[in-house]
Symmetry: C2
DNA sequence: ATTAACATGCTACCATACAAGTGTACATGT
DNA sequence: ACATGTACACTTGTATGGTAGCATGTTAAT
């Protein structure tokens, strides 16, 4: 939230590409090249290349040496793991939170719910997702686990894209917000078990809808068989 | 374990630096520079720079623009979060593992315990730690959560260094191995609660010894006050 | 003696040039 | 018609030169 110093070109390029990928403005499978982006942004190849490397470490692009770079297709197995990570950490954080919760923390969460309601009214998908993230972030902040929150964020690139697709295909589900309200209520009651069960439903929700998405955007997803790692060469 | 194709120079440099940092061969606080490393390895600055960037994303080095790059000092707050992540994920994985465990999985774990015993006998700290990691890795592998395991590994740089220090200062604690044996036993009995309680002790163990380490290697650790982020300028 | 201005040497950052691998289109030979 | 080789247009990987910012030490001024 602080006014960031005008960062390096490398970071600027990274931010731009990151946003365009998770917003599906650059759809999975799109080929991009260092030269192409560099010319489009009037910078040299070096910072673009460094941005590519960062993106590849978050599995947002696949760099194939001497061949090209493509926006990664969504890997459903990976989505499961990303969701698993998020669920595991949120469970633990909820436990901590009910032990050390403050009124200001709960207040912030309620404020974020309000913002999210506005986004829902205006049908702003991106804002909606961002406020959703912010809502969950509060619990990590209050329990001094912000590094873990950032880890989740950087390890949720595939999960995030599927969330975006899901919201785009159907209308935004209002029950996400009621789930948040239920969660806050459970936290108020120090009922960590109830909070965890709400979280589980909340996080797993989108998974059940994935089949429909898969038929509408088939080429956004990675075929299971092309696992690049196991060649079977002559031994 | 597969014979890797001779990777890029960039990756080679990264691997070399990574090993030297987590082994404390390059102690926390050491200043390194692109040029220095490049000349020492007879490569150009570009791949070295790319290696630096990767290392900085794992918080193993701090790159200060226009000034220099130093091997990061161990941040105890970060260690806590790294431990928190590991504990959270291992708890969840244990739950999965007892539901879908196979005999071959348990067998592998026992074999790893044997290897670790040998390392203990020969006082090989590095091997000991590596086998320890491999032991835990098995549960992730069997439950199809290898991405999460790799995530832990790349997010445990500070924790790993403190582990290494701890083992170096005192003799290797034999009870680590008995804890592993107890864990396997609990898994055999499908007693996930018991397994989790063993894991908690196991992972938290080294934390209690940190005070001693702190006095022996004071300059390996980050002072709490120099948090660069909060200047209090004129408002 | 203290302090401000400046020169110097260091750094990471970026631009550019070159090298090396990959796939495709096209020509060539059979 | 078909297989084969070959030049070429792409890609990422690496090397190198130049630039701007920071820290330090020296000098000059007060």
């Amino acid at each position: 939230m602080r006014a960031k110093k005008a960062s390096s070109i490398s970071n600027t390029v990274y931010d731009l590409l990151y946003k365009n990928i998770v917003n599906l403005n650059l759809p999975p499978g799109t080929t991009i090249s260092e030269k192409e982006i560099a010319e489009k942004l009037n910078v040299s190849r070096t910072p673009v290349r460094e941005a590519f490397i960062k993106l590849s470490q978050e599995a947002l692009v696949n760099i194939i040496p001497q061949k090209g770079t493509i926006v990664s297709r969504i890997d459903l197995a990976r989505v499961q793991e990303e969701r698993f990570l998020r669920e595991s950490l949120e469970f633990s954080v909820v436990d901590l939170f009910v032990k050390s919760k403050t009124d200001s923390g709960l207040l912030k969460m309620n404020q974020m719910i309000d913002k999210q309601k506005k986004a829902l009214k205006n049908l702003e998908i991106l804002e909606f997702i961002n406020y959703d993230d912010e809502f969950h972030r509060i619990m990590f902040e209050e329990t001094n686990k912000l590094l873990c929150y950032n880890l989740i964020k950087s390890f949720s690139s595939h999960y995030r894209r599927i969330r975006y697709l899901s919201l785009k295909i159907e209308n935004i589900p209002a029950n996400v917000i009621s789930q948040h309200e239920d969660l806050v209520q459970a936290l108020k009651e120090n009922n960590s078990a109830k909070a965890q069960s709400i979280l589980r439903k909340h996080i797993q929700k989108l998974i059940f809808e994935k089949e429909e998405i898969f038929t509408v955007y088939p080429d956004y997803f990675q075929k299971e068989e092309d696992n690049i790692d196991d060649y079977t060469f002559i031994s």
